[in-house]
């Protein structure tokens, strides 16, 4: 067990948390995620001095590469995508710990060669037997990789004080059953506390700020309930299509891709009760409690909407329809837009609908949570005075232009009494740093430090599927989804869903 370090003082906040000696082994190292996010994040961490000198990065893929070919590949990725400036000294130090093992994910022999490399790193680089395995690969390959790690002995720490961790990315299955199967494959080999599920949204500063906003302030929590809140809208819109991700996206769709994980996690953070502390277990307890209370608000036909983008002009560009994207079968019924009306059965939220929507080729790229308040019970003005007054709203902008906006009514200057909506704005970039780390930097560091608060637990994943499964089953039997034009805010069905409640979607 680690003893106390006399050079670390709890009050000494200047000293960063540096990961101990360890290695990161990436499967699927030639993929997009690895090149655009993981490798740059590793470099940025090193550049910020947060990785130990003995850090090692091992790539495993089906390529005929030597170590230096791999290093060259990482170099290019870092040059192109890293957030911090390129420094030769950082690079030289980092590159000394690079290894590449060519191999098949399904071939146990290749895992034995990987095990030799890992042992060599413990010896020569001083990684101390601590290793994290990052599975940046399709979920169907989780089982063979877990098996390979097990048979080669890689899953077991070489010494009692060393650790082994495994990192997996969404999608965590495509329904409840498959999520459980996936989890069984991993947890047969690794204990639950060694499994880190990455939901990069939870690594974003603004999402963590939701907790600070709610629980560090006296101003918001008293009105954060059904006495004052009319409804909540959670939006995740992308302006791009599926691009080259047809193989991944078709058959998955918007609901499985983002609603099941990101949007439900955002909902959990907005709706949960105050945790007794901010350690991983207490946070998870509260998130699980609220996710257990989530259900579809009404008959599925009326409480859900889906859509698929058609061809057309979007912002001066001619774009293809979903069905015309490369690799999409003509009989595909995958939705590119999903909206749900959910209810949270708790005393705090009874009667407050939570509207979730996510889609591609929408008006613009934006992710936000809008808490829309009820109207004042009595307005001591003439009706004409307040004709331009809407509902008060508190909007947390997750991306881009991270911040918080509050909308409220204000008197228009002049002799007449006229009230109109105005906004009060807090921009993260205005009040704090431009220099906030990428979500992946934070998350990779947390994995290496073994700090789990930001990683969803299997139970949360399963609760998410329990909410979504009935909707997905219903959609599967209802033919192709309705269409919407690119650059709009989704299909008519979605607007109708809110109109039935006498509400409208915000234009984000």
């Amino acid at each position: 067990m680690t003893a106390a370090n006399p050079l670390r003082d709890r009050r000494d906040k200047r000293l960063p948390r540096i990961a101990g000696p360890c290695g990161l082994i990436i499967f699927g190292v030639t993929g997009d995620l690895s090149r655009k996010k993981l490798m740059p994040a590793v470099y940025d961490l090193a550049n910020r001095g947060l990785l130990p000198p003995s850090f090692a990065l091992v790539g495993f893929a089906r390529r005929d590469w030597e170590h230096q070919d791999f290093a060259a590949e990482v170099h290019d990725a870092v040059r192109e995508h890293a957030r911090t400036p390129f420094r030769e000294s950082t690079w030289a130090q980092l590159a000394a710990g690079f290894r590449f093992v060519p191999g098949e994910l399904t071939n146990p022999d290749d895992f034995h060669r990987l095990a030799e490399t890992v042992a060599e790193l413990d010896d020569r680089q001083g990684t101390g037997g601590n290793h994290a395995f990052y599975l940046s690969i399709p979920p169907r390959l989780f089982a063979p990789v877990a098996h390979g790690l097990e048979t080669s002995g890689l899953a077991d720490p070489s010494r009692p004080e060393a650790w082994r961790r495994v990192v997996i990315e969404k999608p965590f299955g495509h329904d409840l059953e498959s999520a459980q199967e996936l989890n069984d494959a991993i947890e047969r080999v690794f204990p639950p506390e060694s499994v880190f599920r990455i939901d990069h949204y939870l690594g974003k500063e603004t999402v963590q700020n939701l907790l600070a906003l709610r629980f560090a302030n006296q101003l918001f929590e008293p009105v954060w309930n059904n006495h004052y809140v009319d409804h909540v809208q959670i939006t995740m819109a992308e302006d791009i299509g599926i691009g080259s991700r047809a193989g991944y996206y078709d058959g998955i769709g918007a609901a499985r891709d983002v609603v099941q994980n990101h949007l439900l996690q955002l909902l959990a953070l907005v709706a949960m009760e105050e945790p007794v502390s901010f350690d991983a277990r207490s946070l998870r307890t509260e998130k699980e409690k609220v996710l257990q209370a989530v259900r579809i608000g009404g008959h599925i036909d009326e409480a859900s909407a889906r859509g698929r983008y058609t061809a057309g002009w979007q912002g001066g560009e001619q774009v293809r329809a979903y069905l015309e994207e490369e690799g999409i079968p003509a009989d595909s019924t995958t939705e590119t837009y999903a909206a749900l009306r959910l209810e949270v059965d708790t005393r705090r939220w009874a009667g407050v609908p939570f509207y979730l929507r996510a889609g591609k080729r929408l008006g613009r790229r934006v992710t936000e949570v809008a808490v829309v308040f009820r109207r004042a019970p009595h307005l001591p003005f003439d009706a004409t005075d307040t004709s331009e007054l809407g509902q008060n709203a508190l909007v947390v902008r997750v991306q881009p232009d991270e911040g918080v906006t509050i909308r409220f009514g204000s008197k228009v200057p002049g002799t007449a009494m006229e009230v109109r909506d105005v906004t009060m704005d807090f921009g993260y970039g205005h009040a704090f740093t431009q220099d906030s780390p990428e979500a992946y930097e934070r998350l990779i560091l947390d994995v290496l430090l073994g700090d789990p608060p930001l990683f969803p637990h299997q139970r949360e994943v399963e609760l998410g599927w329990q909410v979504l499964d009935p909707v997905l089953e219903h959609w599967a039997t209802s033919g192709p989804p309705p269409s919407y034009a690119p650059g709009t805010w989704g299909p008519q069905e979605s607007d109708d869903m809110l109109a039935r409640d006498g509400r409208t979607w915000r234009r984000p």
């Binding site: 680690t2 003893a3 106390a4 370090n5 006399p6 050079l7 670390r8 003082d9 009050r11 000494d12 906040k13 200047r14 000293l15 960063p16 540096i18 101990g20 000696p21 090193a46 550049n47 001095g49 130990p52 000198p53 003995s54 420094r87 030769e88 000294s89 950082t90 030289a92 130090q93 000394a96 020569r124 680089q125 001083g126 101390g128 004080e161 704005d425 807090f426 921009g427 205005h430 009040a431 704090f432 740093t433 431009q434 220099d435």
Partner: protein, 319 residues
């Protein structure tokens, strides 16, 4: 954009800032603190550059108070009638901040707080930064008493080793010195190395702590003071040619050593930890702007710095 306001008053500058905000939009929104910089002569532009750089991390209003020299006054024929000249910089000339440069004769700058009070951001913390000489007791000046944090820089004083001991003498909660921030990377590397030692069981007793560094660097003494304070021992300082800190050795009772060494001007240091291969550690010298940004990151008193200064510094031998 640079706006000159000759022979003016602080209240007029404050009005000008409000007007500018109305004309050009949200100039003063989201500022988190007011940084009052006390600088003379050539230090001024350097200090503004550092503050502008730091403002990308902490949007701030910078108020620079510059004592105009007597010759300057004479040349403009104002020697007998002290007055205040101001300059406001916004947009591209001010990073993510807004800079107000106040120049006045000594009679006016003696009481800095009355000059800057109308220009302080409401409610936001005040940080005072002495970019050059700070005098023996910064906290006893009017601006020092008013500020939440006082930042000095022993390295830019003419006698750094005396200056850092003055700081220890007059230390009050809220003080800080850039010399300390310059050490953060060294301290992080040493603490990281000690993590490795601690991961194998109890850290053995420490028999000797040595810090090698330049004879004009207060950082050398301060690093020794930190180690002496944290390891409950004394630290030996050895003066060698060069800039800043060049090596640290921590000798344990069991005869093993932890050594961190950096050659002059190098960006990489060599770290050797007992039972591990010697390896390079990135340890580039830091710019003043980086150090200032770090200093502004926390606005509560830095208790560790205070204890190192007051309790650790007397344990440095050969300083």
């Amino acid at each position: 954009m640079i706006i000159e306001l000759p022979a003016t008053s602080s209240a007029a500058v404050a009005r000008a800032l409000v007007d500018l905000r109305e004309q050009y939009g949200a100039v003063a929104l989201g500022r988190v603190l007011t940084l009052v910089v006390l600088a003379d002569g050539a230090d001024v532009e350097q200090a503004i550059t550092a503050a502008n750089h730091a403002s990308h991390e902490h949007p701030l209003r910078v108020i620079v108070v510059r004592r105009s020299d007597v010759d300057d006054e004479r040349r403009h024929g104002h020697a007998d009638r002290p007055h205040l000249d101001a300059q406001v910089r916004l947009g591209g000339d001010a990073g993510a901040s807004e800079v107000v440069l106040l120049s006045a004769a000594a009679t006016l700058t003696d009481d800095v707080s009355s000059l800057v009070t109308p220009l302080l951001l409401p409610d936001a913390p005040i940080v005072a930064w002495w970019a050059g000489e700070a005098g023996a007791h910064p906290v006893e000046t009017t601006i020092g008493a008013m500020a939440h944090r006082r930042i000095t820089d022993a390295a830019s004083c003419h006698a750094p080793l005396v200056a850092i001991r003055d700081r220890a003498e007059s230390y009050r909660a809220g003080d800080g010195d850039l010399t300390w921030a310059r050490l953060t990377l060294w301290r992080a590397a040493l603490a990281g190395a000690m993590d490795v030692v601690a991961s194998r069981g109890d850290v053995p007793g420490v028999s000797v702590v040595e810090v090698h560094g330049s004879s004009s660097s207060a950082s050398v003494d301060l690093l020794g003071a930190w180690l002496a304070w944290a390891l409950r021992t004394s630290a030996l300082v050895r003066r060698v040619p060069g800039h800043g800190v060049s090596a640290v050795r921590i000798g344990f009772d069991d005869g093993t050593d932890l050594v961190l060494e950096r050659a002059a001007e190098a960006e990489v240091a060599q770290l050797s930890v007992p039972d591990q291969p010697t390896r390079p550690v990135a340890l580039a010298p830091r710019s003043d702007a980086d150090c200032l940004a770090e200093e502004l990151r926390r606005l509560e008193p830095d208790e560790v710095y205070g204890e190192v200064l007051v309790r650790g510094l007397p344990r440095v031998i050969g300083g």
